[in-house]
Symmetry: D2
Subunit: 468 residues, 4 copies
């Protein structure tokens, strides 16, 4: 997963453009904290700085000051770039027949290998293993045959099969693209003469911009100095309501203060917790969240049950950044360091712990034994999403064989993790928790309907879309 952000000043000034981009990706780091980069358009020259590390480590004041531009795109990503230096980190910046192009994308391309081979057969060379290079190579060829960048992008969208949000920066435009199903979120914002494109609204709040609207599935929004235009790909979701935004954005990925397709992420989680209390009640003394992603649902669950909601486990805020584990003993100690347990708050009590989801189950198992070792009388687990039964290549990024819910019953999973009881919200209730959403959802990891196909399988016929 990645966070992407773009900024364009229609007045053509450089003030605050790069700093807005910096604040933008700073606020999107929950989507990826391994590398960061910013590219700016400095009067036609494209400058780019990017590196492995947190945003605060990659950029300092001097670097930002050197990145003057009237438009900027920025990226943060999970997964490090390996031995070969900064080549694989985004934004990608190239020169083509129509000038400079920079690209930042949050994408998973299903037919990447086929496209790469096809392009190689036409003489293209590849310097990285990134999706960006494929997209830019396709775009560049399409651009020769099309009247403008927007149509070259539409042609490119017909060729790639996958889920993505992308921001292109050209010599005179900033162009946002949401995939035909709208699986990945992308929003348009504005403040004075500045336009913004962002993975999530929380980054608009960080730069004090107002939310304009979500991009529609398959939409290409193009910002230039004199106008903002929009075109849409035929063959994807016709209406926004037919879109399929990833349900896991609400469940886990997005920041709770973001609003995706008109639905507040925090509210969706809180409401899922309320619904969970109805579907899977339990008799406990205290409801706690699995920190921090389970907290919102836990609050709703406690409210629904009428039981006290409080802290029981706290996350060590210094962990998350790498720290050193080597021997087995030390690795077990390491688990203890990730969480602080409030012993006096839980000792002797019947505890319900609410988590956003159960993917592999390892951490949940550790937490349960940790709570018991610190005196919890009972530990009941409640999950604010249904059993994750299908390995999803779009987002969850787990293989099916790693997923207990793919093969085990709820009781078997309960025993595996050592809980006194285990309850999942139903998919229907989870979908109902999205009360104000104006888009459909993809729940492939729960129901197996992979609308954009899977890399190693043929596309599910039912969900197949026509890429003309």
């Amino acid at each position: 997963m990645s966070g992407i952000f773009g900024c364009f000043d229609v007045d053509g000034n450089c003030d605050n453009v790069v700093r807005s981009a910096y604040y933008g990706i700073f606020s999107l780091q929950h989507r990826g904290q391994e590398s960061a980069g910013i590219a700016v358009n400095n009067g036609g020259a494209f400058l780019c700085h990017k590196n492995d590390g947190l945003v605060a480590d990659v950029f300092d004041d001097m670097t930002l000051s050197a990145l003057q531009g009237t438009s900027a795109i920025a990226h943060c990503r999970g997964g490090s770039s390996g031995i070969s230096g900064s080549d694989a980190i985004q934004p990608s910046v190239i020169k083509s027949r129509v000038g400079n192009i920079a690209l930042t994308s949050d994408s998973v391309i299903m037919n990447d290998d086929a496209l790469r081979e096809e392009l190689k057969g036409l003489g293209a060379i590849f310097q990285t293993n990134t999706d960006s290079e494929i997209i830019l190579s396709l775009f560049s060829r399409n651009r020769i045959k099309t009247e403008d960048c927007e149509h070259a992008i539409l042609e490119t969208m017909k060729q790639i099969r996958g889920v993505y949000s992308m921001i292109f920066m050209t010599d005179n435009k900033l162009i946002g693209v949401r995939d035909p199903f709208g699986l990945r979120p992308l929003v348009l914002g504005r403040k004075g003469s500045f336009y913004f494109l962002s993975s999530e609204t929380c980054a608009l709040d960080a730069v004090d911009a107002e939310f304009v609207r979500d991009l529609e599935p398959g939409e290409v929004v193009s910002i230039s100095r004199d106008k903002v235009t929009s075109v849409k790909l035929n063959g994807g979701a016709e209406n926004k309501a037919d879109g399929k935004v990833c349900l896991f954005e609400y469940v886990y990925v997005a920041r709770p203060d973001s609003v995706i397709d008109r639905m507040s992420v925090f509210d969706s989680r809180y409401r899922a917790g309320l619904a969970l209390a109805k579907e899977q009640p339990c008799d406990v003394d205290l409801v706690i969240g699995a920190p921090d992603s389970g907290n919102a649902a836990a609050e709703g669950f406690a409210q629904g049950l009428g039981v006290h909601y409080g802290a029981g486990l706290l996350k060590n805020r210094y962990v998350g950044r790498t720290f050193i584990k080597s021997t087995q003993t030390q690795r077990e100690l390491a688990v203890k360091m990730k969480f602080a347990v409030l012993r006096t708050a839980i000792a002797g009590k019947r505890i319900a712990i609410v988590d956003d989801s159960l993917v592999r189950g390892t951490t949940t198992g550790h937490i349960i034994s940790f709570l018991r070792a610190n005196g919890a009388a009972e530990v009941h687990v409640r999950l604010a999403s249904p059993p994750v039964r299908f390995g999803c290549c779009y987002g969850v990024n787990a293989a099916e064989e790693e997923l207990p819910a793919a093969t085990k019953s709820v009781d078997e999973i309960r025993d595996m993790i050592g809980a006194d009881s285990l309850g999942y919200i139903s998919l229907e209730a989870l979908k109902e928790s999205l009360s104000t959403i104006d888009c459909g959802v993809c729940s492939a990891c729960f129901d197996g309907c992979f609308i954009a196909g899977r890399p190693d399988k043929s596309i599910d016929s039912v969900h197949k879309v026509t890429y003309s």
Copy 2:
């Protein structure tokens, strides 16, 4: 403030000693995150690695592997070391007539200038501005005239006036020291052949050690391969109950899962919240904590009022590490980035926000306007500690002129921060929240009784202790 940690294997093995020290200070970083260091005793040779930065940045696997030893002391501290390199970062390692001595301390010495001048008058030279160098210089001279290290430490304690916890590592001992009033916490732990000394119990939990006991005020605990001994300074608190542990450890400094002098930090905060609900009730729809230090008291306050406790503000976990602010506009944006506000959770509601304390009041003011801007109908502030009226050099580290409570009434402060109402817990109720504590408390920042004196003033006559 600093975190200190020591480890000693009475079996004389090197396995896990330095890694325990690493985990120890990793868990104490809430006490100081600007620099970190570890020194080990490697068969008489003392090795030390230290640098500016977070523990995870200062140490990597290779560095730890190079630091083999049978005992170790470690340090993390707030405040960077400046231009002159690593000299000022702890642990300090010296050679004296009786061999190697390493020291790590969490200290504020009141008579540091006088001691430094006195030592200079005897020919001593100083290479840093640290307390450690004074303490080691005094200790080294005292050691010449005393039979053992422990008595040299007692002599040193008679000369220094201040608050401190310290761990000395010598060629064959690990020695923990708590100041005569017990202002700073220090605990003894054990696991198998390992003894530990730590600022807080949370670090004992991190290394899976059992808590043995708090050091008593003025106590010197010495661990060697064949025995653990204890001596105590005359002239400090006679009994543990006469000690004066810093109340702010409970209010703000310590990690909630730590237990200091037999009292759980989380419980003390939760109970303070309960008491605050009795003393300063208010009619609201939602109680939220000022993240993260106000959360425990907020939970208790909500429980006391019988009102819903939930999230309203979340702290961005990537902030706290430096990030770039330059122009005024950007600085205001920066405030927005520190906190995520859950707009839908607070909009239209009457909110009570509970904070641990109000020192300067700037951040509280920002938070209130932030909540209002996002739709809060009313914002009531409740504080789980009394007005901070005295500039405390021991811990709070604020000058009196910065403290609104030093000169303003509660109503004036309420207006200053823009709250609908403002309520403080009383000092009596705060002290009562420490139900199981077995030590007295220092509440100098609230009542002005500075038992160890202040740097620029003569010692309060009432509280004067005889340093023979």
Copy 3:
């Protein structure tokens, strides 16, 4: 200018391959010391490490150990890579339809802009401004239409107009290429099962390899596990004797212990000095070299005159790496730091200082005043190459307007630099100094015959070659 080096073990082992590459470019750093890189073929996976800096700074033992491979290519280059990271540093590594290709080149392409535009028109994208990317893009397209890599390279050579030596590394070959005129040197060496390609023989000496032969102009030598083959471009120099190796390689660029096209570089310089003594004798007490590049000719000049040859100026071996100059005064001081003058050796004496060439003349002027200020009675300048009258884009890399000899007479230059007399060797004598050379020479910077054309001018008709 760059140094390029390749290594291939026909036995298919990894031992010493990368270390040979390391030693190879270490010995070629006089050709470029700003960046360095090595790529290896590790069983089909291509690994690459490259960075700005000296070879000794870019690589350490750990990095080399990670670069295991059965073949390797390496590069060192003058000129830093700018803000965008390591993308522009060689070797370049790409994936094409026929697998991995790595390239390292010492090249100046005259028609680079035209080629880049042509490729862009076909949809190619460019991520850097390097020649390598153009060459790889052309090669990759040509490879689709040709039976093997060697013919794809020949096709590419027909498209590019310029001077170059190149080494390609493919999944199973190492291929060396010398431009149609042989302007840049490239040699083949061997030691046991190892084959080497190198810019100069000095790097073969460094790895203890025997010299096999110079590549011929327009030759493509291909090394695979079972054979070494050679093909040659039609349209360049038919015979080796028609080649045009750059005369400046002998005058200045190459290391004195290298042998290029059968002529020892040191001997050529020494012989030029002897000839200079005949053509431009002078009555002096001491002959010194302009350190270090004038030393060999100075030795010959002194021998020719029968005058004492000795040291007068020494070069500070720590300069050459950047050092700090800021104010005007300090910049003048900086000149003093570059050279140590042996005052007692020159005071009161008539000095002849021999330099390899006079390009801009600034340093020579500084040296003359420096010698006078330290007591030299007379300072006579002798140059072991003719007046540099034409801005050469192949190697000397100076614009015509910077060259005093383009517009000034010898007397005017003498006055400009403040010498008592000034004498140049004739072009005929310089060419005669190359007694054993088996190739022709390019003397464009002296006579203006640019055989491969100039970037902004049409190709000299006389010298035009047919690129079919």
Copy 4:
């Protein structure tokens, strides 16, 4: 060995002070290239920056700009500082009863252990293993009992036994000190309102200063804003002519363009070469120097013999900085990389190679086989210093068991290194080569007269000096 440099502007301005210090140590790096540091007096505050590495790597423009001061001292040194950071790198900066003191020294203290123990017995603590810390600790105690810094230094000189040059920087003075025998050189220079102290005159040339005079043995020169004063230690050399400057400074250590005690280093080497030609002639075709330290003597030797002097071996200027060697094979290759051999210049010739000295003999042996392998018909070795028979702790820093001349005859050494003949200059002739010197010399490494004693032996009674 170290290089030390100091700068003091009597006009009290900051302009160019730190940059002069930078240029000063830049020019002294031949005395030590492992670490570098500069301390400045900034209106009473002492700022210091130091690190491992070359001067050009330790300092950049920003660092220098931050080091504003009206006086500065600087240091460069051989030998790295180990794991414990920058503590052991000079300058050392301390605070004492009389204010800030910074010290930079080029010293070997014989009685360091005894002094350290004595000081420890008085309560002193040591944070490093450096001489500086001992000297500063002694000085600081002495300063309490004396009227001024100069007398405190004299008292300190009575306590330390060894060889040294030192520069102290105090709040208002810059004080240069040369040891009682003048073994280490130290000179005073001046330019306008700037005074300089430097290990060698070459650094005065670098900052364009005029040489004022050498310090006398045992002299303390003190520069303040209103005067320059001098005091001298009783008990050392009474007159300058009784001093004992280290002969190895002329033979090897100093830069050839330096003048020590009125004798040009280059001239002394050249004259030694002339004398060597008389004492140890040989019948050869070419005389070459062992690069670079043998070149001056080789030039004189060739002149004396009337034989051609020329280049045969060149030193790779990129070696000297660490480069990687690992396997035995690679280590042998490494030797080849250090030197470029000019094969055509030496092939078939009888060669005399002149080196400054033969200490361990390993490199000389390698060079001889290298010359033979490249075709030299005969290789005769001539040495411009006598057999090094005594392990010298002052400078040469080799143990006696490493010295072939301690146990072997000249013939045996000749066979060991594989030369056709071997000839040493006599000690008498070497001393005579110092025609203009105004000081005596120490030739302990040749004759065993250790005037300042040796660390593990009692002082030679004959040479004992009275330290009152």
